[in-house]
Amino acid sequence: MNSITLLQVAWVALKVNLLRSILTMLGIIIGVAAVIIMLALGAGARYDVDQQIKSLGGNVFVVFSRGRFSGGARQSSGSSQGLTELDALAIEQQIPEVNVAAPTLRANGQLIFGNLNWSSDIHGVTNSIYQAQSWTLSEGRTFSDAELASAGRVAVIGETVKRELFGQSDPVGQTVRVNKLPVTIIGVLKGKGQNTQGNDQDDLIFMPLDTVRKRISGMTLSSPKAVRSIIVQVHDERDMASVEQQMDSLLRQRLRATDGQTPFSIRNLAEMIETRSQTLQIFNGLLAAVASVSLLVGGIGIMNIMLVSVTERTREIGLRMAVGAEPKVIMKQFLIEAVLLCGIGGIIGVTLAVITSLSMQYFTGFTAIIDPYVVLMSVGFSCLIGIFFGYYPATKAAKLQPIDALRYE
């Protein structure tokens, strides 16, 4: 009996008991779908994290100037012995692995344009920020050297700010008031959208460092060059550890820090996000494990039904043997039935998983990524389950004696 005929015979046997076949498949369908959905959501979360790291740059450090306390009153960041622009320059020039080091300051500001107002984060930056944080402009230009040197009243705004204050009209060349200071908008940043925490990354304004320092923040700075943080981008991700060490010793030396008192902290953002996402990954792994248990239960369901089927069809088996079916052909028939059940169940499960993941992505905003390899694996695995759990019933069928089987009532 060739394999095509065997397949046909098995197919007909399943079709004859359509309802039972579908119910049996249900276990496998749910199991496969659950496993794939869990893995897809896991891969989606992983992808989100990777994207976030990529948008920050996996090769980026942020060096914060630590706020220091004196007499219980917290002084502003960038007070004495804090980081300065010169430190940024030193990092960029003295550590060869560093691509760019961008000093930044931050302040809050109220923007007013006509009768509209919007409050946003104001970042005092130099032009190195574009490279360090992978920003590009959608309109306008970056700061000129003169504007940077003379605390020019100019700003580059994020897409959200543009939308809130200007709507569809062109903001470049317009003047807005930032904390009462009239500022001319010279450019608009290309939008980055939300990060994985759902924070809007485009709600910000870039202004020259000096402008923020002198005209916006109102901070009394002990050093005229003080900055709040330095964003450091490294050429090659593999050099992160060595750069971190070099920066640490360089800054300690420059800021005359003793062991007990470190006026700065170096953070590897990618690492922080990674750590946070690990919890998510473990949780997801657990869910996938639970899902695979349901796949196992589905397999046991297959075995159960196949055993019932063998008992119910004892006379049929006897007849087939009487008209010339060898025991191994009977065995193959039942095995193929089990594998067909599992295989078809697996395919339906995959389809269901794809539909569910896509609609979850559409309706809830989860990212779901279905790996074709996972799909192949789970269909393959469910076929294996068919072989594994179909084997015992098939052997039972093949071991029947034709006369006993024919007389079975």
Binding site: V9, V16, L319, R320, V323, G324, A325, I403, L406
Partner: protein
């Protein structure tokens, strides 16, 4: 005359707890090509066991079975299955058709196991259904057929591989008298066409339609006689006439 099947000192023992039941006690029978043999005997006489041996469905305890001159006594299960497929056609009391499967596909079944090409199998199956008078009912499922028609499908299935031997186990047992006579008429027709038939029955009336009667009792062959068979067609005509007469009275 060439022997289709021959048994030599055939014995079958069953272990029932501590006792051994000798179901067959040394049977020597030769069945030749073209014979129509009825096997008779009360229940427990060993006739069914004997049938199972002839059909290569069971293995004897000792003795020998020759099928078409070949010793099939100690063949493995897989080879026995091939022998059954090639040489023997089975007809059962309960028809044993596959449910929810068309008459045609039921008849095709034995040919699935010897790799007959699909088209040829379908042609052969149609011819056999034609032969048993069901040429117009090939797509009907067993549940849509009467008992007699179901048995005809089973006969077509038994014929489809052109076996050397047709084995019928109480083929009229589940049918009414008239339908039973019709089936016997079909058997006699097959006999005239040169088929070799062995029929197990406990009804002497049915055994009369065969050309040779074997009688079993307590595991032994007690009688083996040849006779001129009664004509099933005549019996059927007579039965119908009688019934008509009864109805008219």
């Amino acid at each position: 005359m060439a022997a289709v099947i021959q048994t030599k000192a055939l014995e079958k023992h069953y272990q029932m707890g501590s006792e051994t039941l000798r179901a067959l006690k040394g049977i020597d029978v030769q069945i030749n090509t073209g014979e129509f043999v009825a096997v008779m005997g009360p229940s427990g006489s060993g006739k069914s066991t004997f049938m199972n041996m002839l059909g290569c469905l069971d293995i004897p305890t000792c003795g020998q079975i020759l099928l078409q001159g070949e010793d099939v006594t100690h063949l493995p299960a897989a080879t026995l299955a091939q022998m059954r497929n090639k040489y023997i056609g089975f007809i059962f009391q309960q028809f044993n058709l596959l449910p929810r499967t068309s008459a045609l596909d039921n008849v095709v079944l034995p040919m699935l196991y010897n790799n007959t090409p699909r088209q040829q199998a379908l042609t052969q199956a149609r011819e056999c259904l034609e032969l048993v008078g069901l040429g117009s009912r090939t797509t009907h499922q067993p549940s849509q057929l009467s008992g007699g028609q179901q048995q005809r499908v089973a006969i077509a299935r038994a014929l489809v591989n052109q076996p050397a031997l047709l084995l019928a186990d109480e083929p009229t047992g589940a049918l009414d008298t008239e339908t039973g006579l019709e089936i016997m008429q079909l058997f006699q027709q097959l006999h005239r066409q040169g088929k070799t038939l062995v029929l197990v029955t406990h009804e002497p009336d049915i055994a009369e339609f065969a050309s040779r009667q074997l009688v079993f009792r307590d595991g032994k062959l007690v009688s083996d006689k040849r006779s001129t068979p009664a004509c099933a067609q005549t019996a059927l005509a007579h039965f119908r006439q009688q019934r008509l007469a009864e109805a008219l009275e």
